[in-house]
Each structure stands twice: as structure tokens, then as C-alpha cells.
């Protein structure tokens, strides 16, 4: 297991719970898709129809947009942050929401979906997701190889001295 001191590090159990949460919301709201990412835009989980959609880029843009919105709130003297952001298109709507301090939620809906219902579900799922991620993971078994998969010096050397150049041999 990986055991790093900084950043978001969710256990498999937490990831399963998050998936169940997103599935439930997808089912209840008939959203096209729902993404959960960390505040720097790195994708944690995605549910729904995302074929043909670059979800890595989508979550990076959403994180940037929410961060900008929070800065806007500060500049206009809003004591709380703007927690929810809605984009309305002709066929689809996109909701962005903070999930605590460390995560963001992106939900893509058909424009015919009732906005009030979506907002209600987003509030609920944010609470549920915070409950999941703020619960400390169970203690890890004290196996000798609990850091299985760790980045070793040899692995690093292999990547950087042997394989790195091969990744960049394009035109």
C-alpha cells in the first residue's frame, strides 16, 4: 500500500463508497455524468456517459473555474465562498460545486432536468462525500511489504536513464 504524508489519499473502501454515492445521484437525477476531482483538478471518480468526453481536461478546467469563483467571492467581500456554479447551454447544463476544502464535483445534466432537484441532490451528495472522506481509514495491516509498489531508486533510474527519451521521440 502507498503511505504518503501529503495530498489526498483515499482507501479502496472510501473509493467504493464514493462510487456508490455517485451512482445513486446519477440514478436519482438522470444526470449524463458526474465527476469527482481534487482541488487541483485530478480526477478521483467518474460515473455516467463520458464517452467522447475528455474528463481529465474537464476536471482540470472545472477546478480552475471554481478556484477563480472563490477568488471572486473574496474580492466582492463575500464572507463565505460561492459554493455552486451553474452553466446553462441549449442542451446541457453543468453544475460545479466545492466538496469541502479538498474536492470538487462536476455534474452534467440534460437541460430539461429540474434545477431545484439537482441543487438539492448536490447538497446531499456533498454532505455524504464529506462524511466518507473525513472518516479516517482503518489502520493498515502491519505487513512487512505494506509499501508494496513504492518508488525505489532503481525504478526511478530506470525511468529517467533508460525509458524517458523513448517517451519523447515524436516529431
Amino acid at each position: 500500500m502507498f503511505d504518503l504524508p501529503a495530498g489526498l489519499d483515499l482507501s479502496m473502501e472510501q473509493l467504493d463508497q464514493i462510487d456508490r454515492c455517485l451512482d445513486e445521484m446519477l440514478w436519482e437525477t438522470e444526470a449524463h455524468c458526474i465527476l469527482l476531482a481534487d482541488i487541483s483538478g485530478q480526477l478521483i471518480s467518474e460515473k455516467g456517459t463520458t464517452q467522447g468526453m475528455n474528463t481529465a481536461v474537464l476536471s482540470a478546467l472545472a477546478a480552475g473555474e471554481l478556484a477563480a469563483t472563490n477568488e471572486l467571492a473574496r474580492l466582492v467581500g463575500e464572507p463565505a465562498r460561492f459554493k455552486l456554479l451553474l452553466h446553462e447551454g441549449e442542451r446541457q447544463g453543468v453544475y460545479l460545486s466545492d466538496v469541502g476544502e479538498e474536492m470538487i464535483l462536476v455534474a452534467v445534466f440534460d437541460i430539461s432536468t429540474a434545477i431545484g432537484m439537482v441543487r438539492l441532490y448536490i447538497r446531499k451528495i456533498v454532505k455524504d462525500l464529506l462524511a466518507i472522506t473525513q472518516t479516517p481509514p482503518p489502520p493498515k495491516p502491519s505487513k512487512q511489504n505494506h509499501n508494496d509498489g513504492l518508488l525505489s531508486t532503481d525504478d526511478l533510474d530506470d525511468l529517467l536513464s533508460t525509458r524517458f527519451d523513448a517517451f519523447f521521440n515524436g516529431e
Binding site: 500500500m1 504518503l4 485530478q42 481529465a56 509498489g149 530506470d158 517517451f167 519523447f168
Partner: protein, 198 residues
């Protein structure tokens, strides 16, 4: 940094920072152009009509497995203009490493210094003062470029790794990238080791 245990993926964020027109986007364009299509994602640029970065450029790349992990690098640039300071700080959030791109032209010294101080202050405010920084002295090919030793006298780069570069000619871009990847991965490994029980 976000660890996706299910995909055994280590997500790391690297930000290219520096004054306006120093060549941050040029670095990313070249990396994207030369990267094998199967390791790179789309290059997204949020820019003005004049081709200036207004928010950020972004691409991701996955450089194969290291041990049991697949590091997935997310590369960002920041907008360089002075009045986008707030945006630069937003893009720095959650960064695991920074490349500071210096414009080596003698007339840009003040802009470099201002951007450098700006970066140091933002890193401090975000609690990121200990993440790896690599410095690239770009535009060394231009006739008005100051040599690296001279620039070092003015910009307090300390012990950070330094690279002379001409991003537009492809010189120094991959040495810089390799250095920041090495520093970030080494820092991650050290954190793990220091956390291991004695």
C-alpha cells in the same frame, strides 16, 4: 498529489511559472509535440485573441510504470502578465513541483525578479515552500540574452537545478522536464521513506 489506489496511479502536478512571454507555453507545446501520442493527453490552452495565456495551458502525460505505480503528470502553465497574479496563485494550488522559466534577455531582468518574488510569496502562502523548483534560463539563443552566471547574480536561485535553454529551438526543454520529474518523484519517495516506522 492524489493517489488513485484503484488504478495504482500517482497523480502529480507540475506548474511552469515565470514572467510574461518567457516561453512557458512554448515549453509545453514542444513537450506535447514530441511526446508519443500514447503517453500524452490533449493540450488545452485558455488564451486571449492575441494568443496570450489568460488562465492556463494544461496537458497530462503518463510515463509508464515505476515499480507498481503509474505516475501521471499534469503540466500547467500560468499567465505571466503582472495583473494575473491572482490567477497564478490559483493555478499553483496543489502543485508538487515548479519550473520557473526566466526570460534571459537583459531588458527583462526586472520582470524576472518580480515574477520570482511573486512565486516565492505564493508558494509560502499556499504552504508549498518545500516543493521542488527547477529554473530554466530560456531564450539563451537571442543576441540580447544575458549569460546564466550573470543572471544568477541577480535572481536568488539558491541550490535549485538550473538549465540554459532555447525552448523555441527545443534546447533544454527536456533536460528541464526530466529534472523536475526527478525532483518531484525523489521528494515523494523520500516522504514515504521518512514515514516508514523505524
Amino acid at each position: 498529489m492524489f493517489i488513485n489506489r484503484r488504478l495504482r496511479q500517482l497523480n502529480l502536478k507540475i506548474v511552469y511559472y515565470g514572467p510574461a512571454m518567457s516561453g512557458k507555453t512554448t515549453n509545453l507545446i514542444l513537450i506535447h509535440k514530441r511526446a508519443n501520442p500514447d503517453v500524452r493527453g490533449e493540450l488545452v490552452s485558455l488564451k486571449t485573441n492575441e494568443d496570450r495565456t489568460i488562465f492556463f495551458d494544461y496537458m497530462q502525460m503518463e510515463l509508464g510504470k515505476i515499480g507498481g505505480l503509474t505516475p501521471n503528470f499534469h503540466l500547467y502553465t500560468v499567465p505571466g502578465q503582472v495583473y494575473y497574479a491572482a490567477t497564478r496563485k490559483l493555478v499553483l494550488r496543489g502543485a508538487d513541483g515548479v519550473v520557473f522559466v526566466v526570460d534571459s534577455q537583459a531588458g527583462r531582468l526586472k520582470d524576472n525578479l518580480e515574477s520570482w518574488d511573486n512565486m516565492k510569496r505564493h508558494l509560502h502562502e499556499l504552504g508549498l515552500e518545500n516543493i521542488p523548483v527547477v529554473v530554466q534560463f530560456n531564450k539563451q539563443d537571442l543576441p540580447g540574452a544575458a549569460p546564466v552566471p550573470m543572471l544568477r547574480q541577480f535572481i536568488d536561485v539558491g541550490d535549485y537545478p538550473l538549465f540554459a535553454a532555447s525552448a523555441i529551438q527545443g534546447v533544454g526543454v527536456f533536460d528541464t522536464l526530466k529534472a523536475v520529474i526527478t525532483s518531484v518523484l525523489t521528494q515523494v519517495s523520500n516522504q514515504v521513506v521518512s514515514k516508514r516506522p523505524a
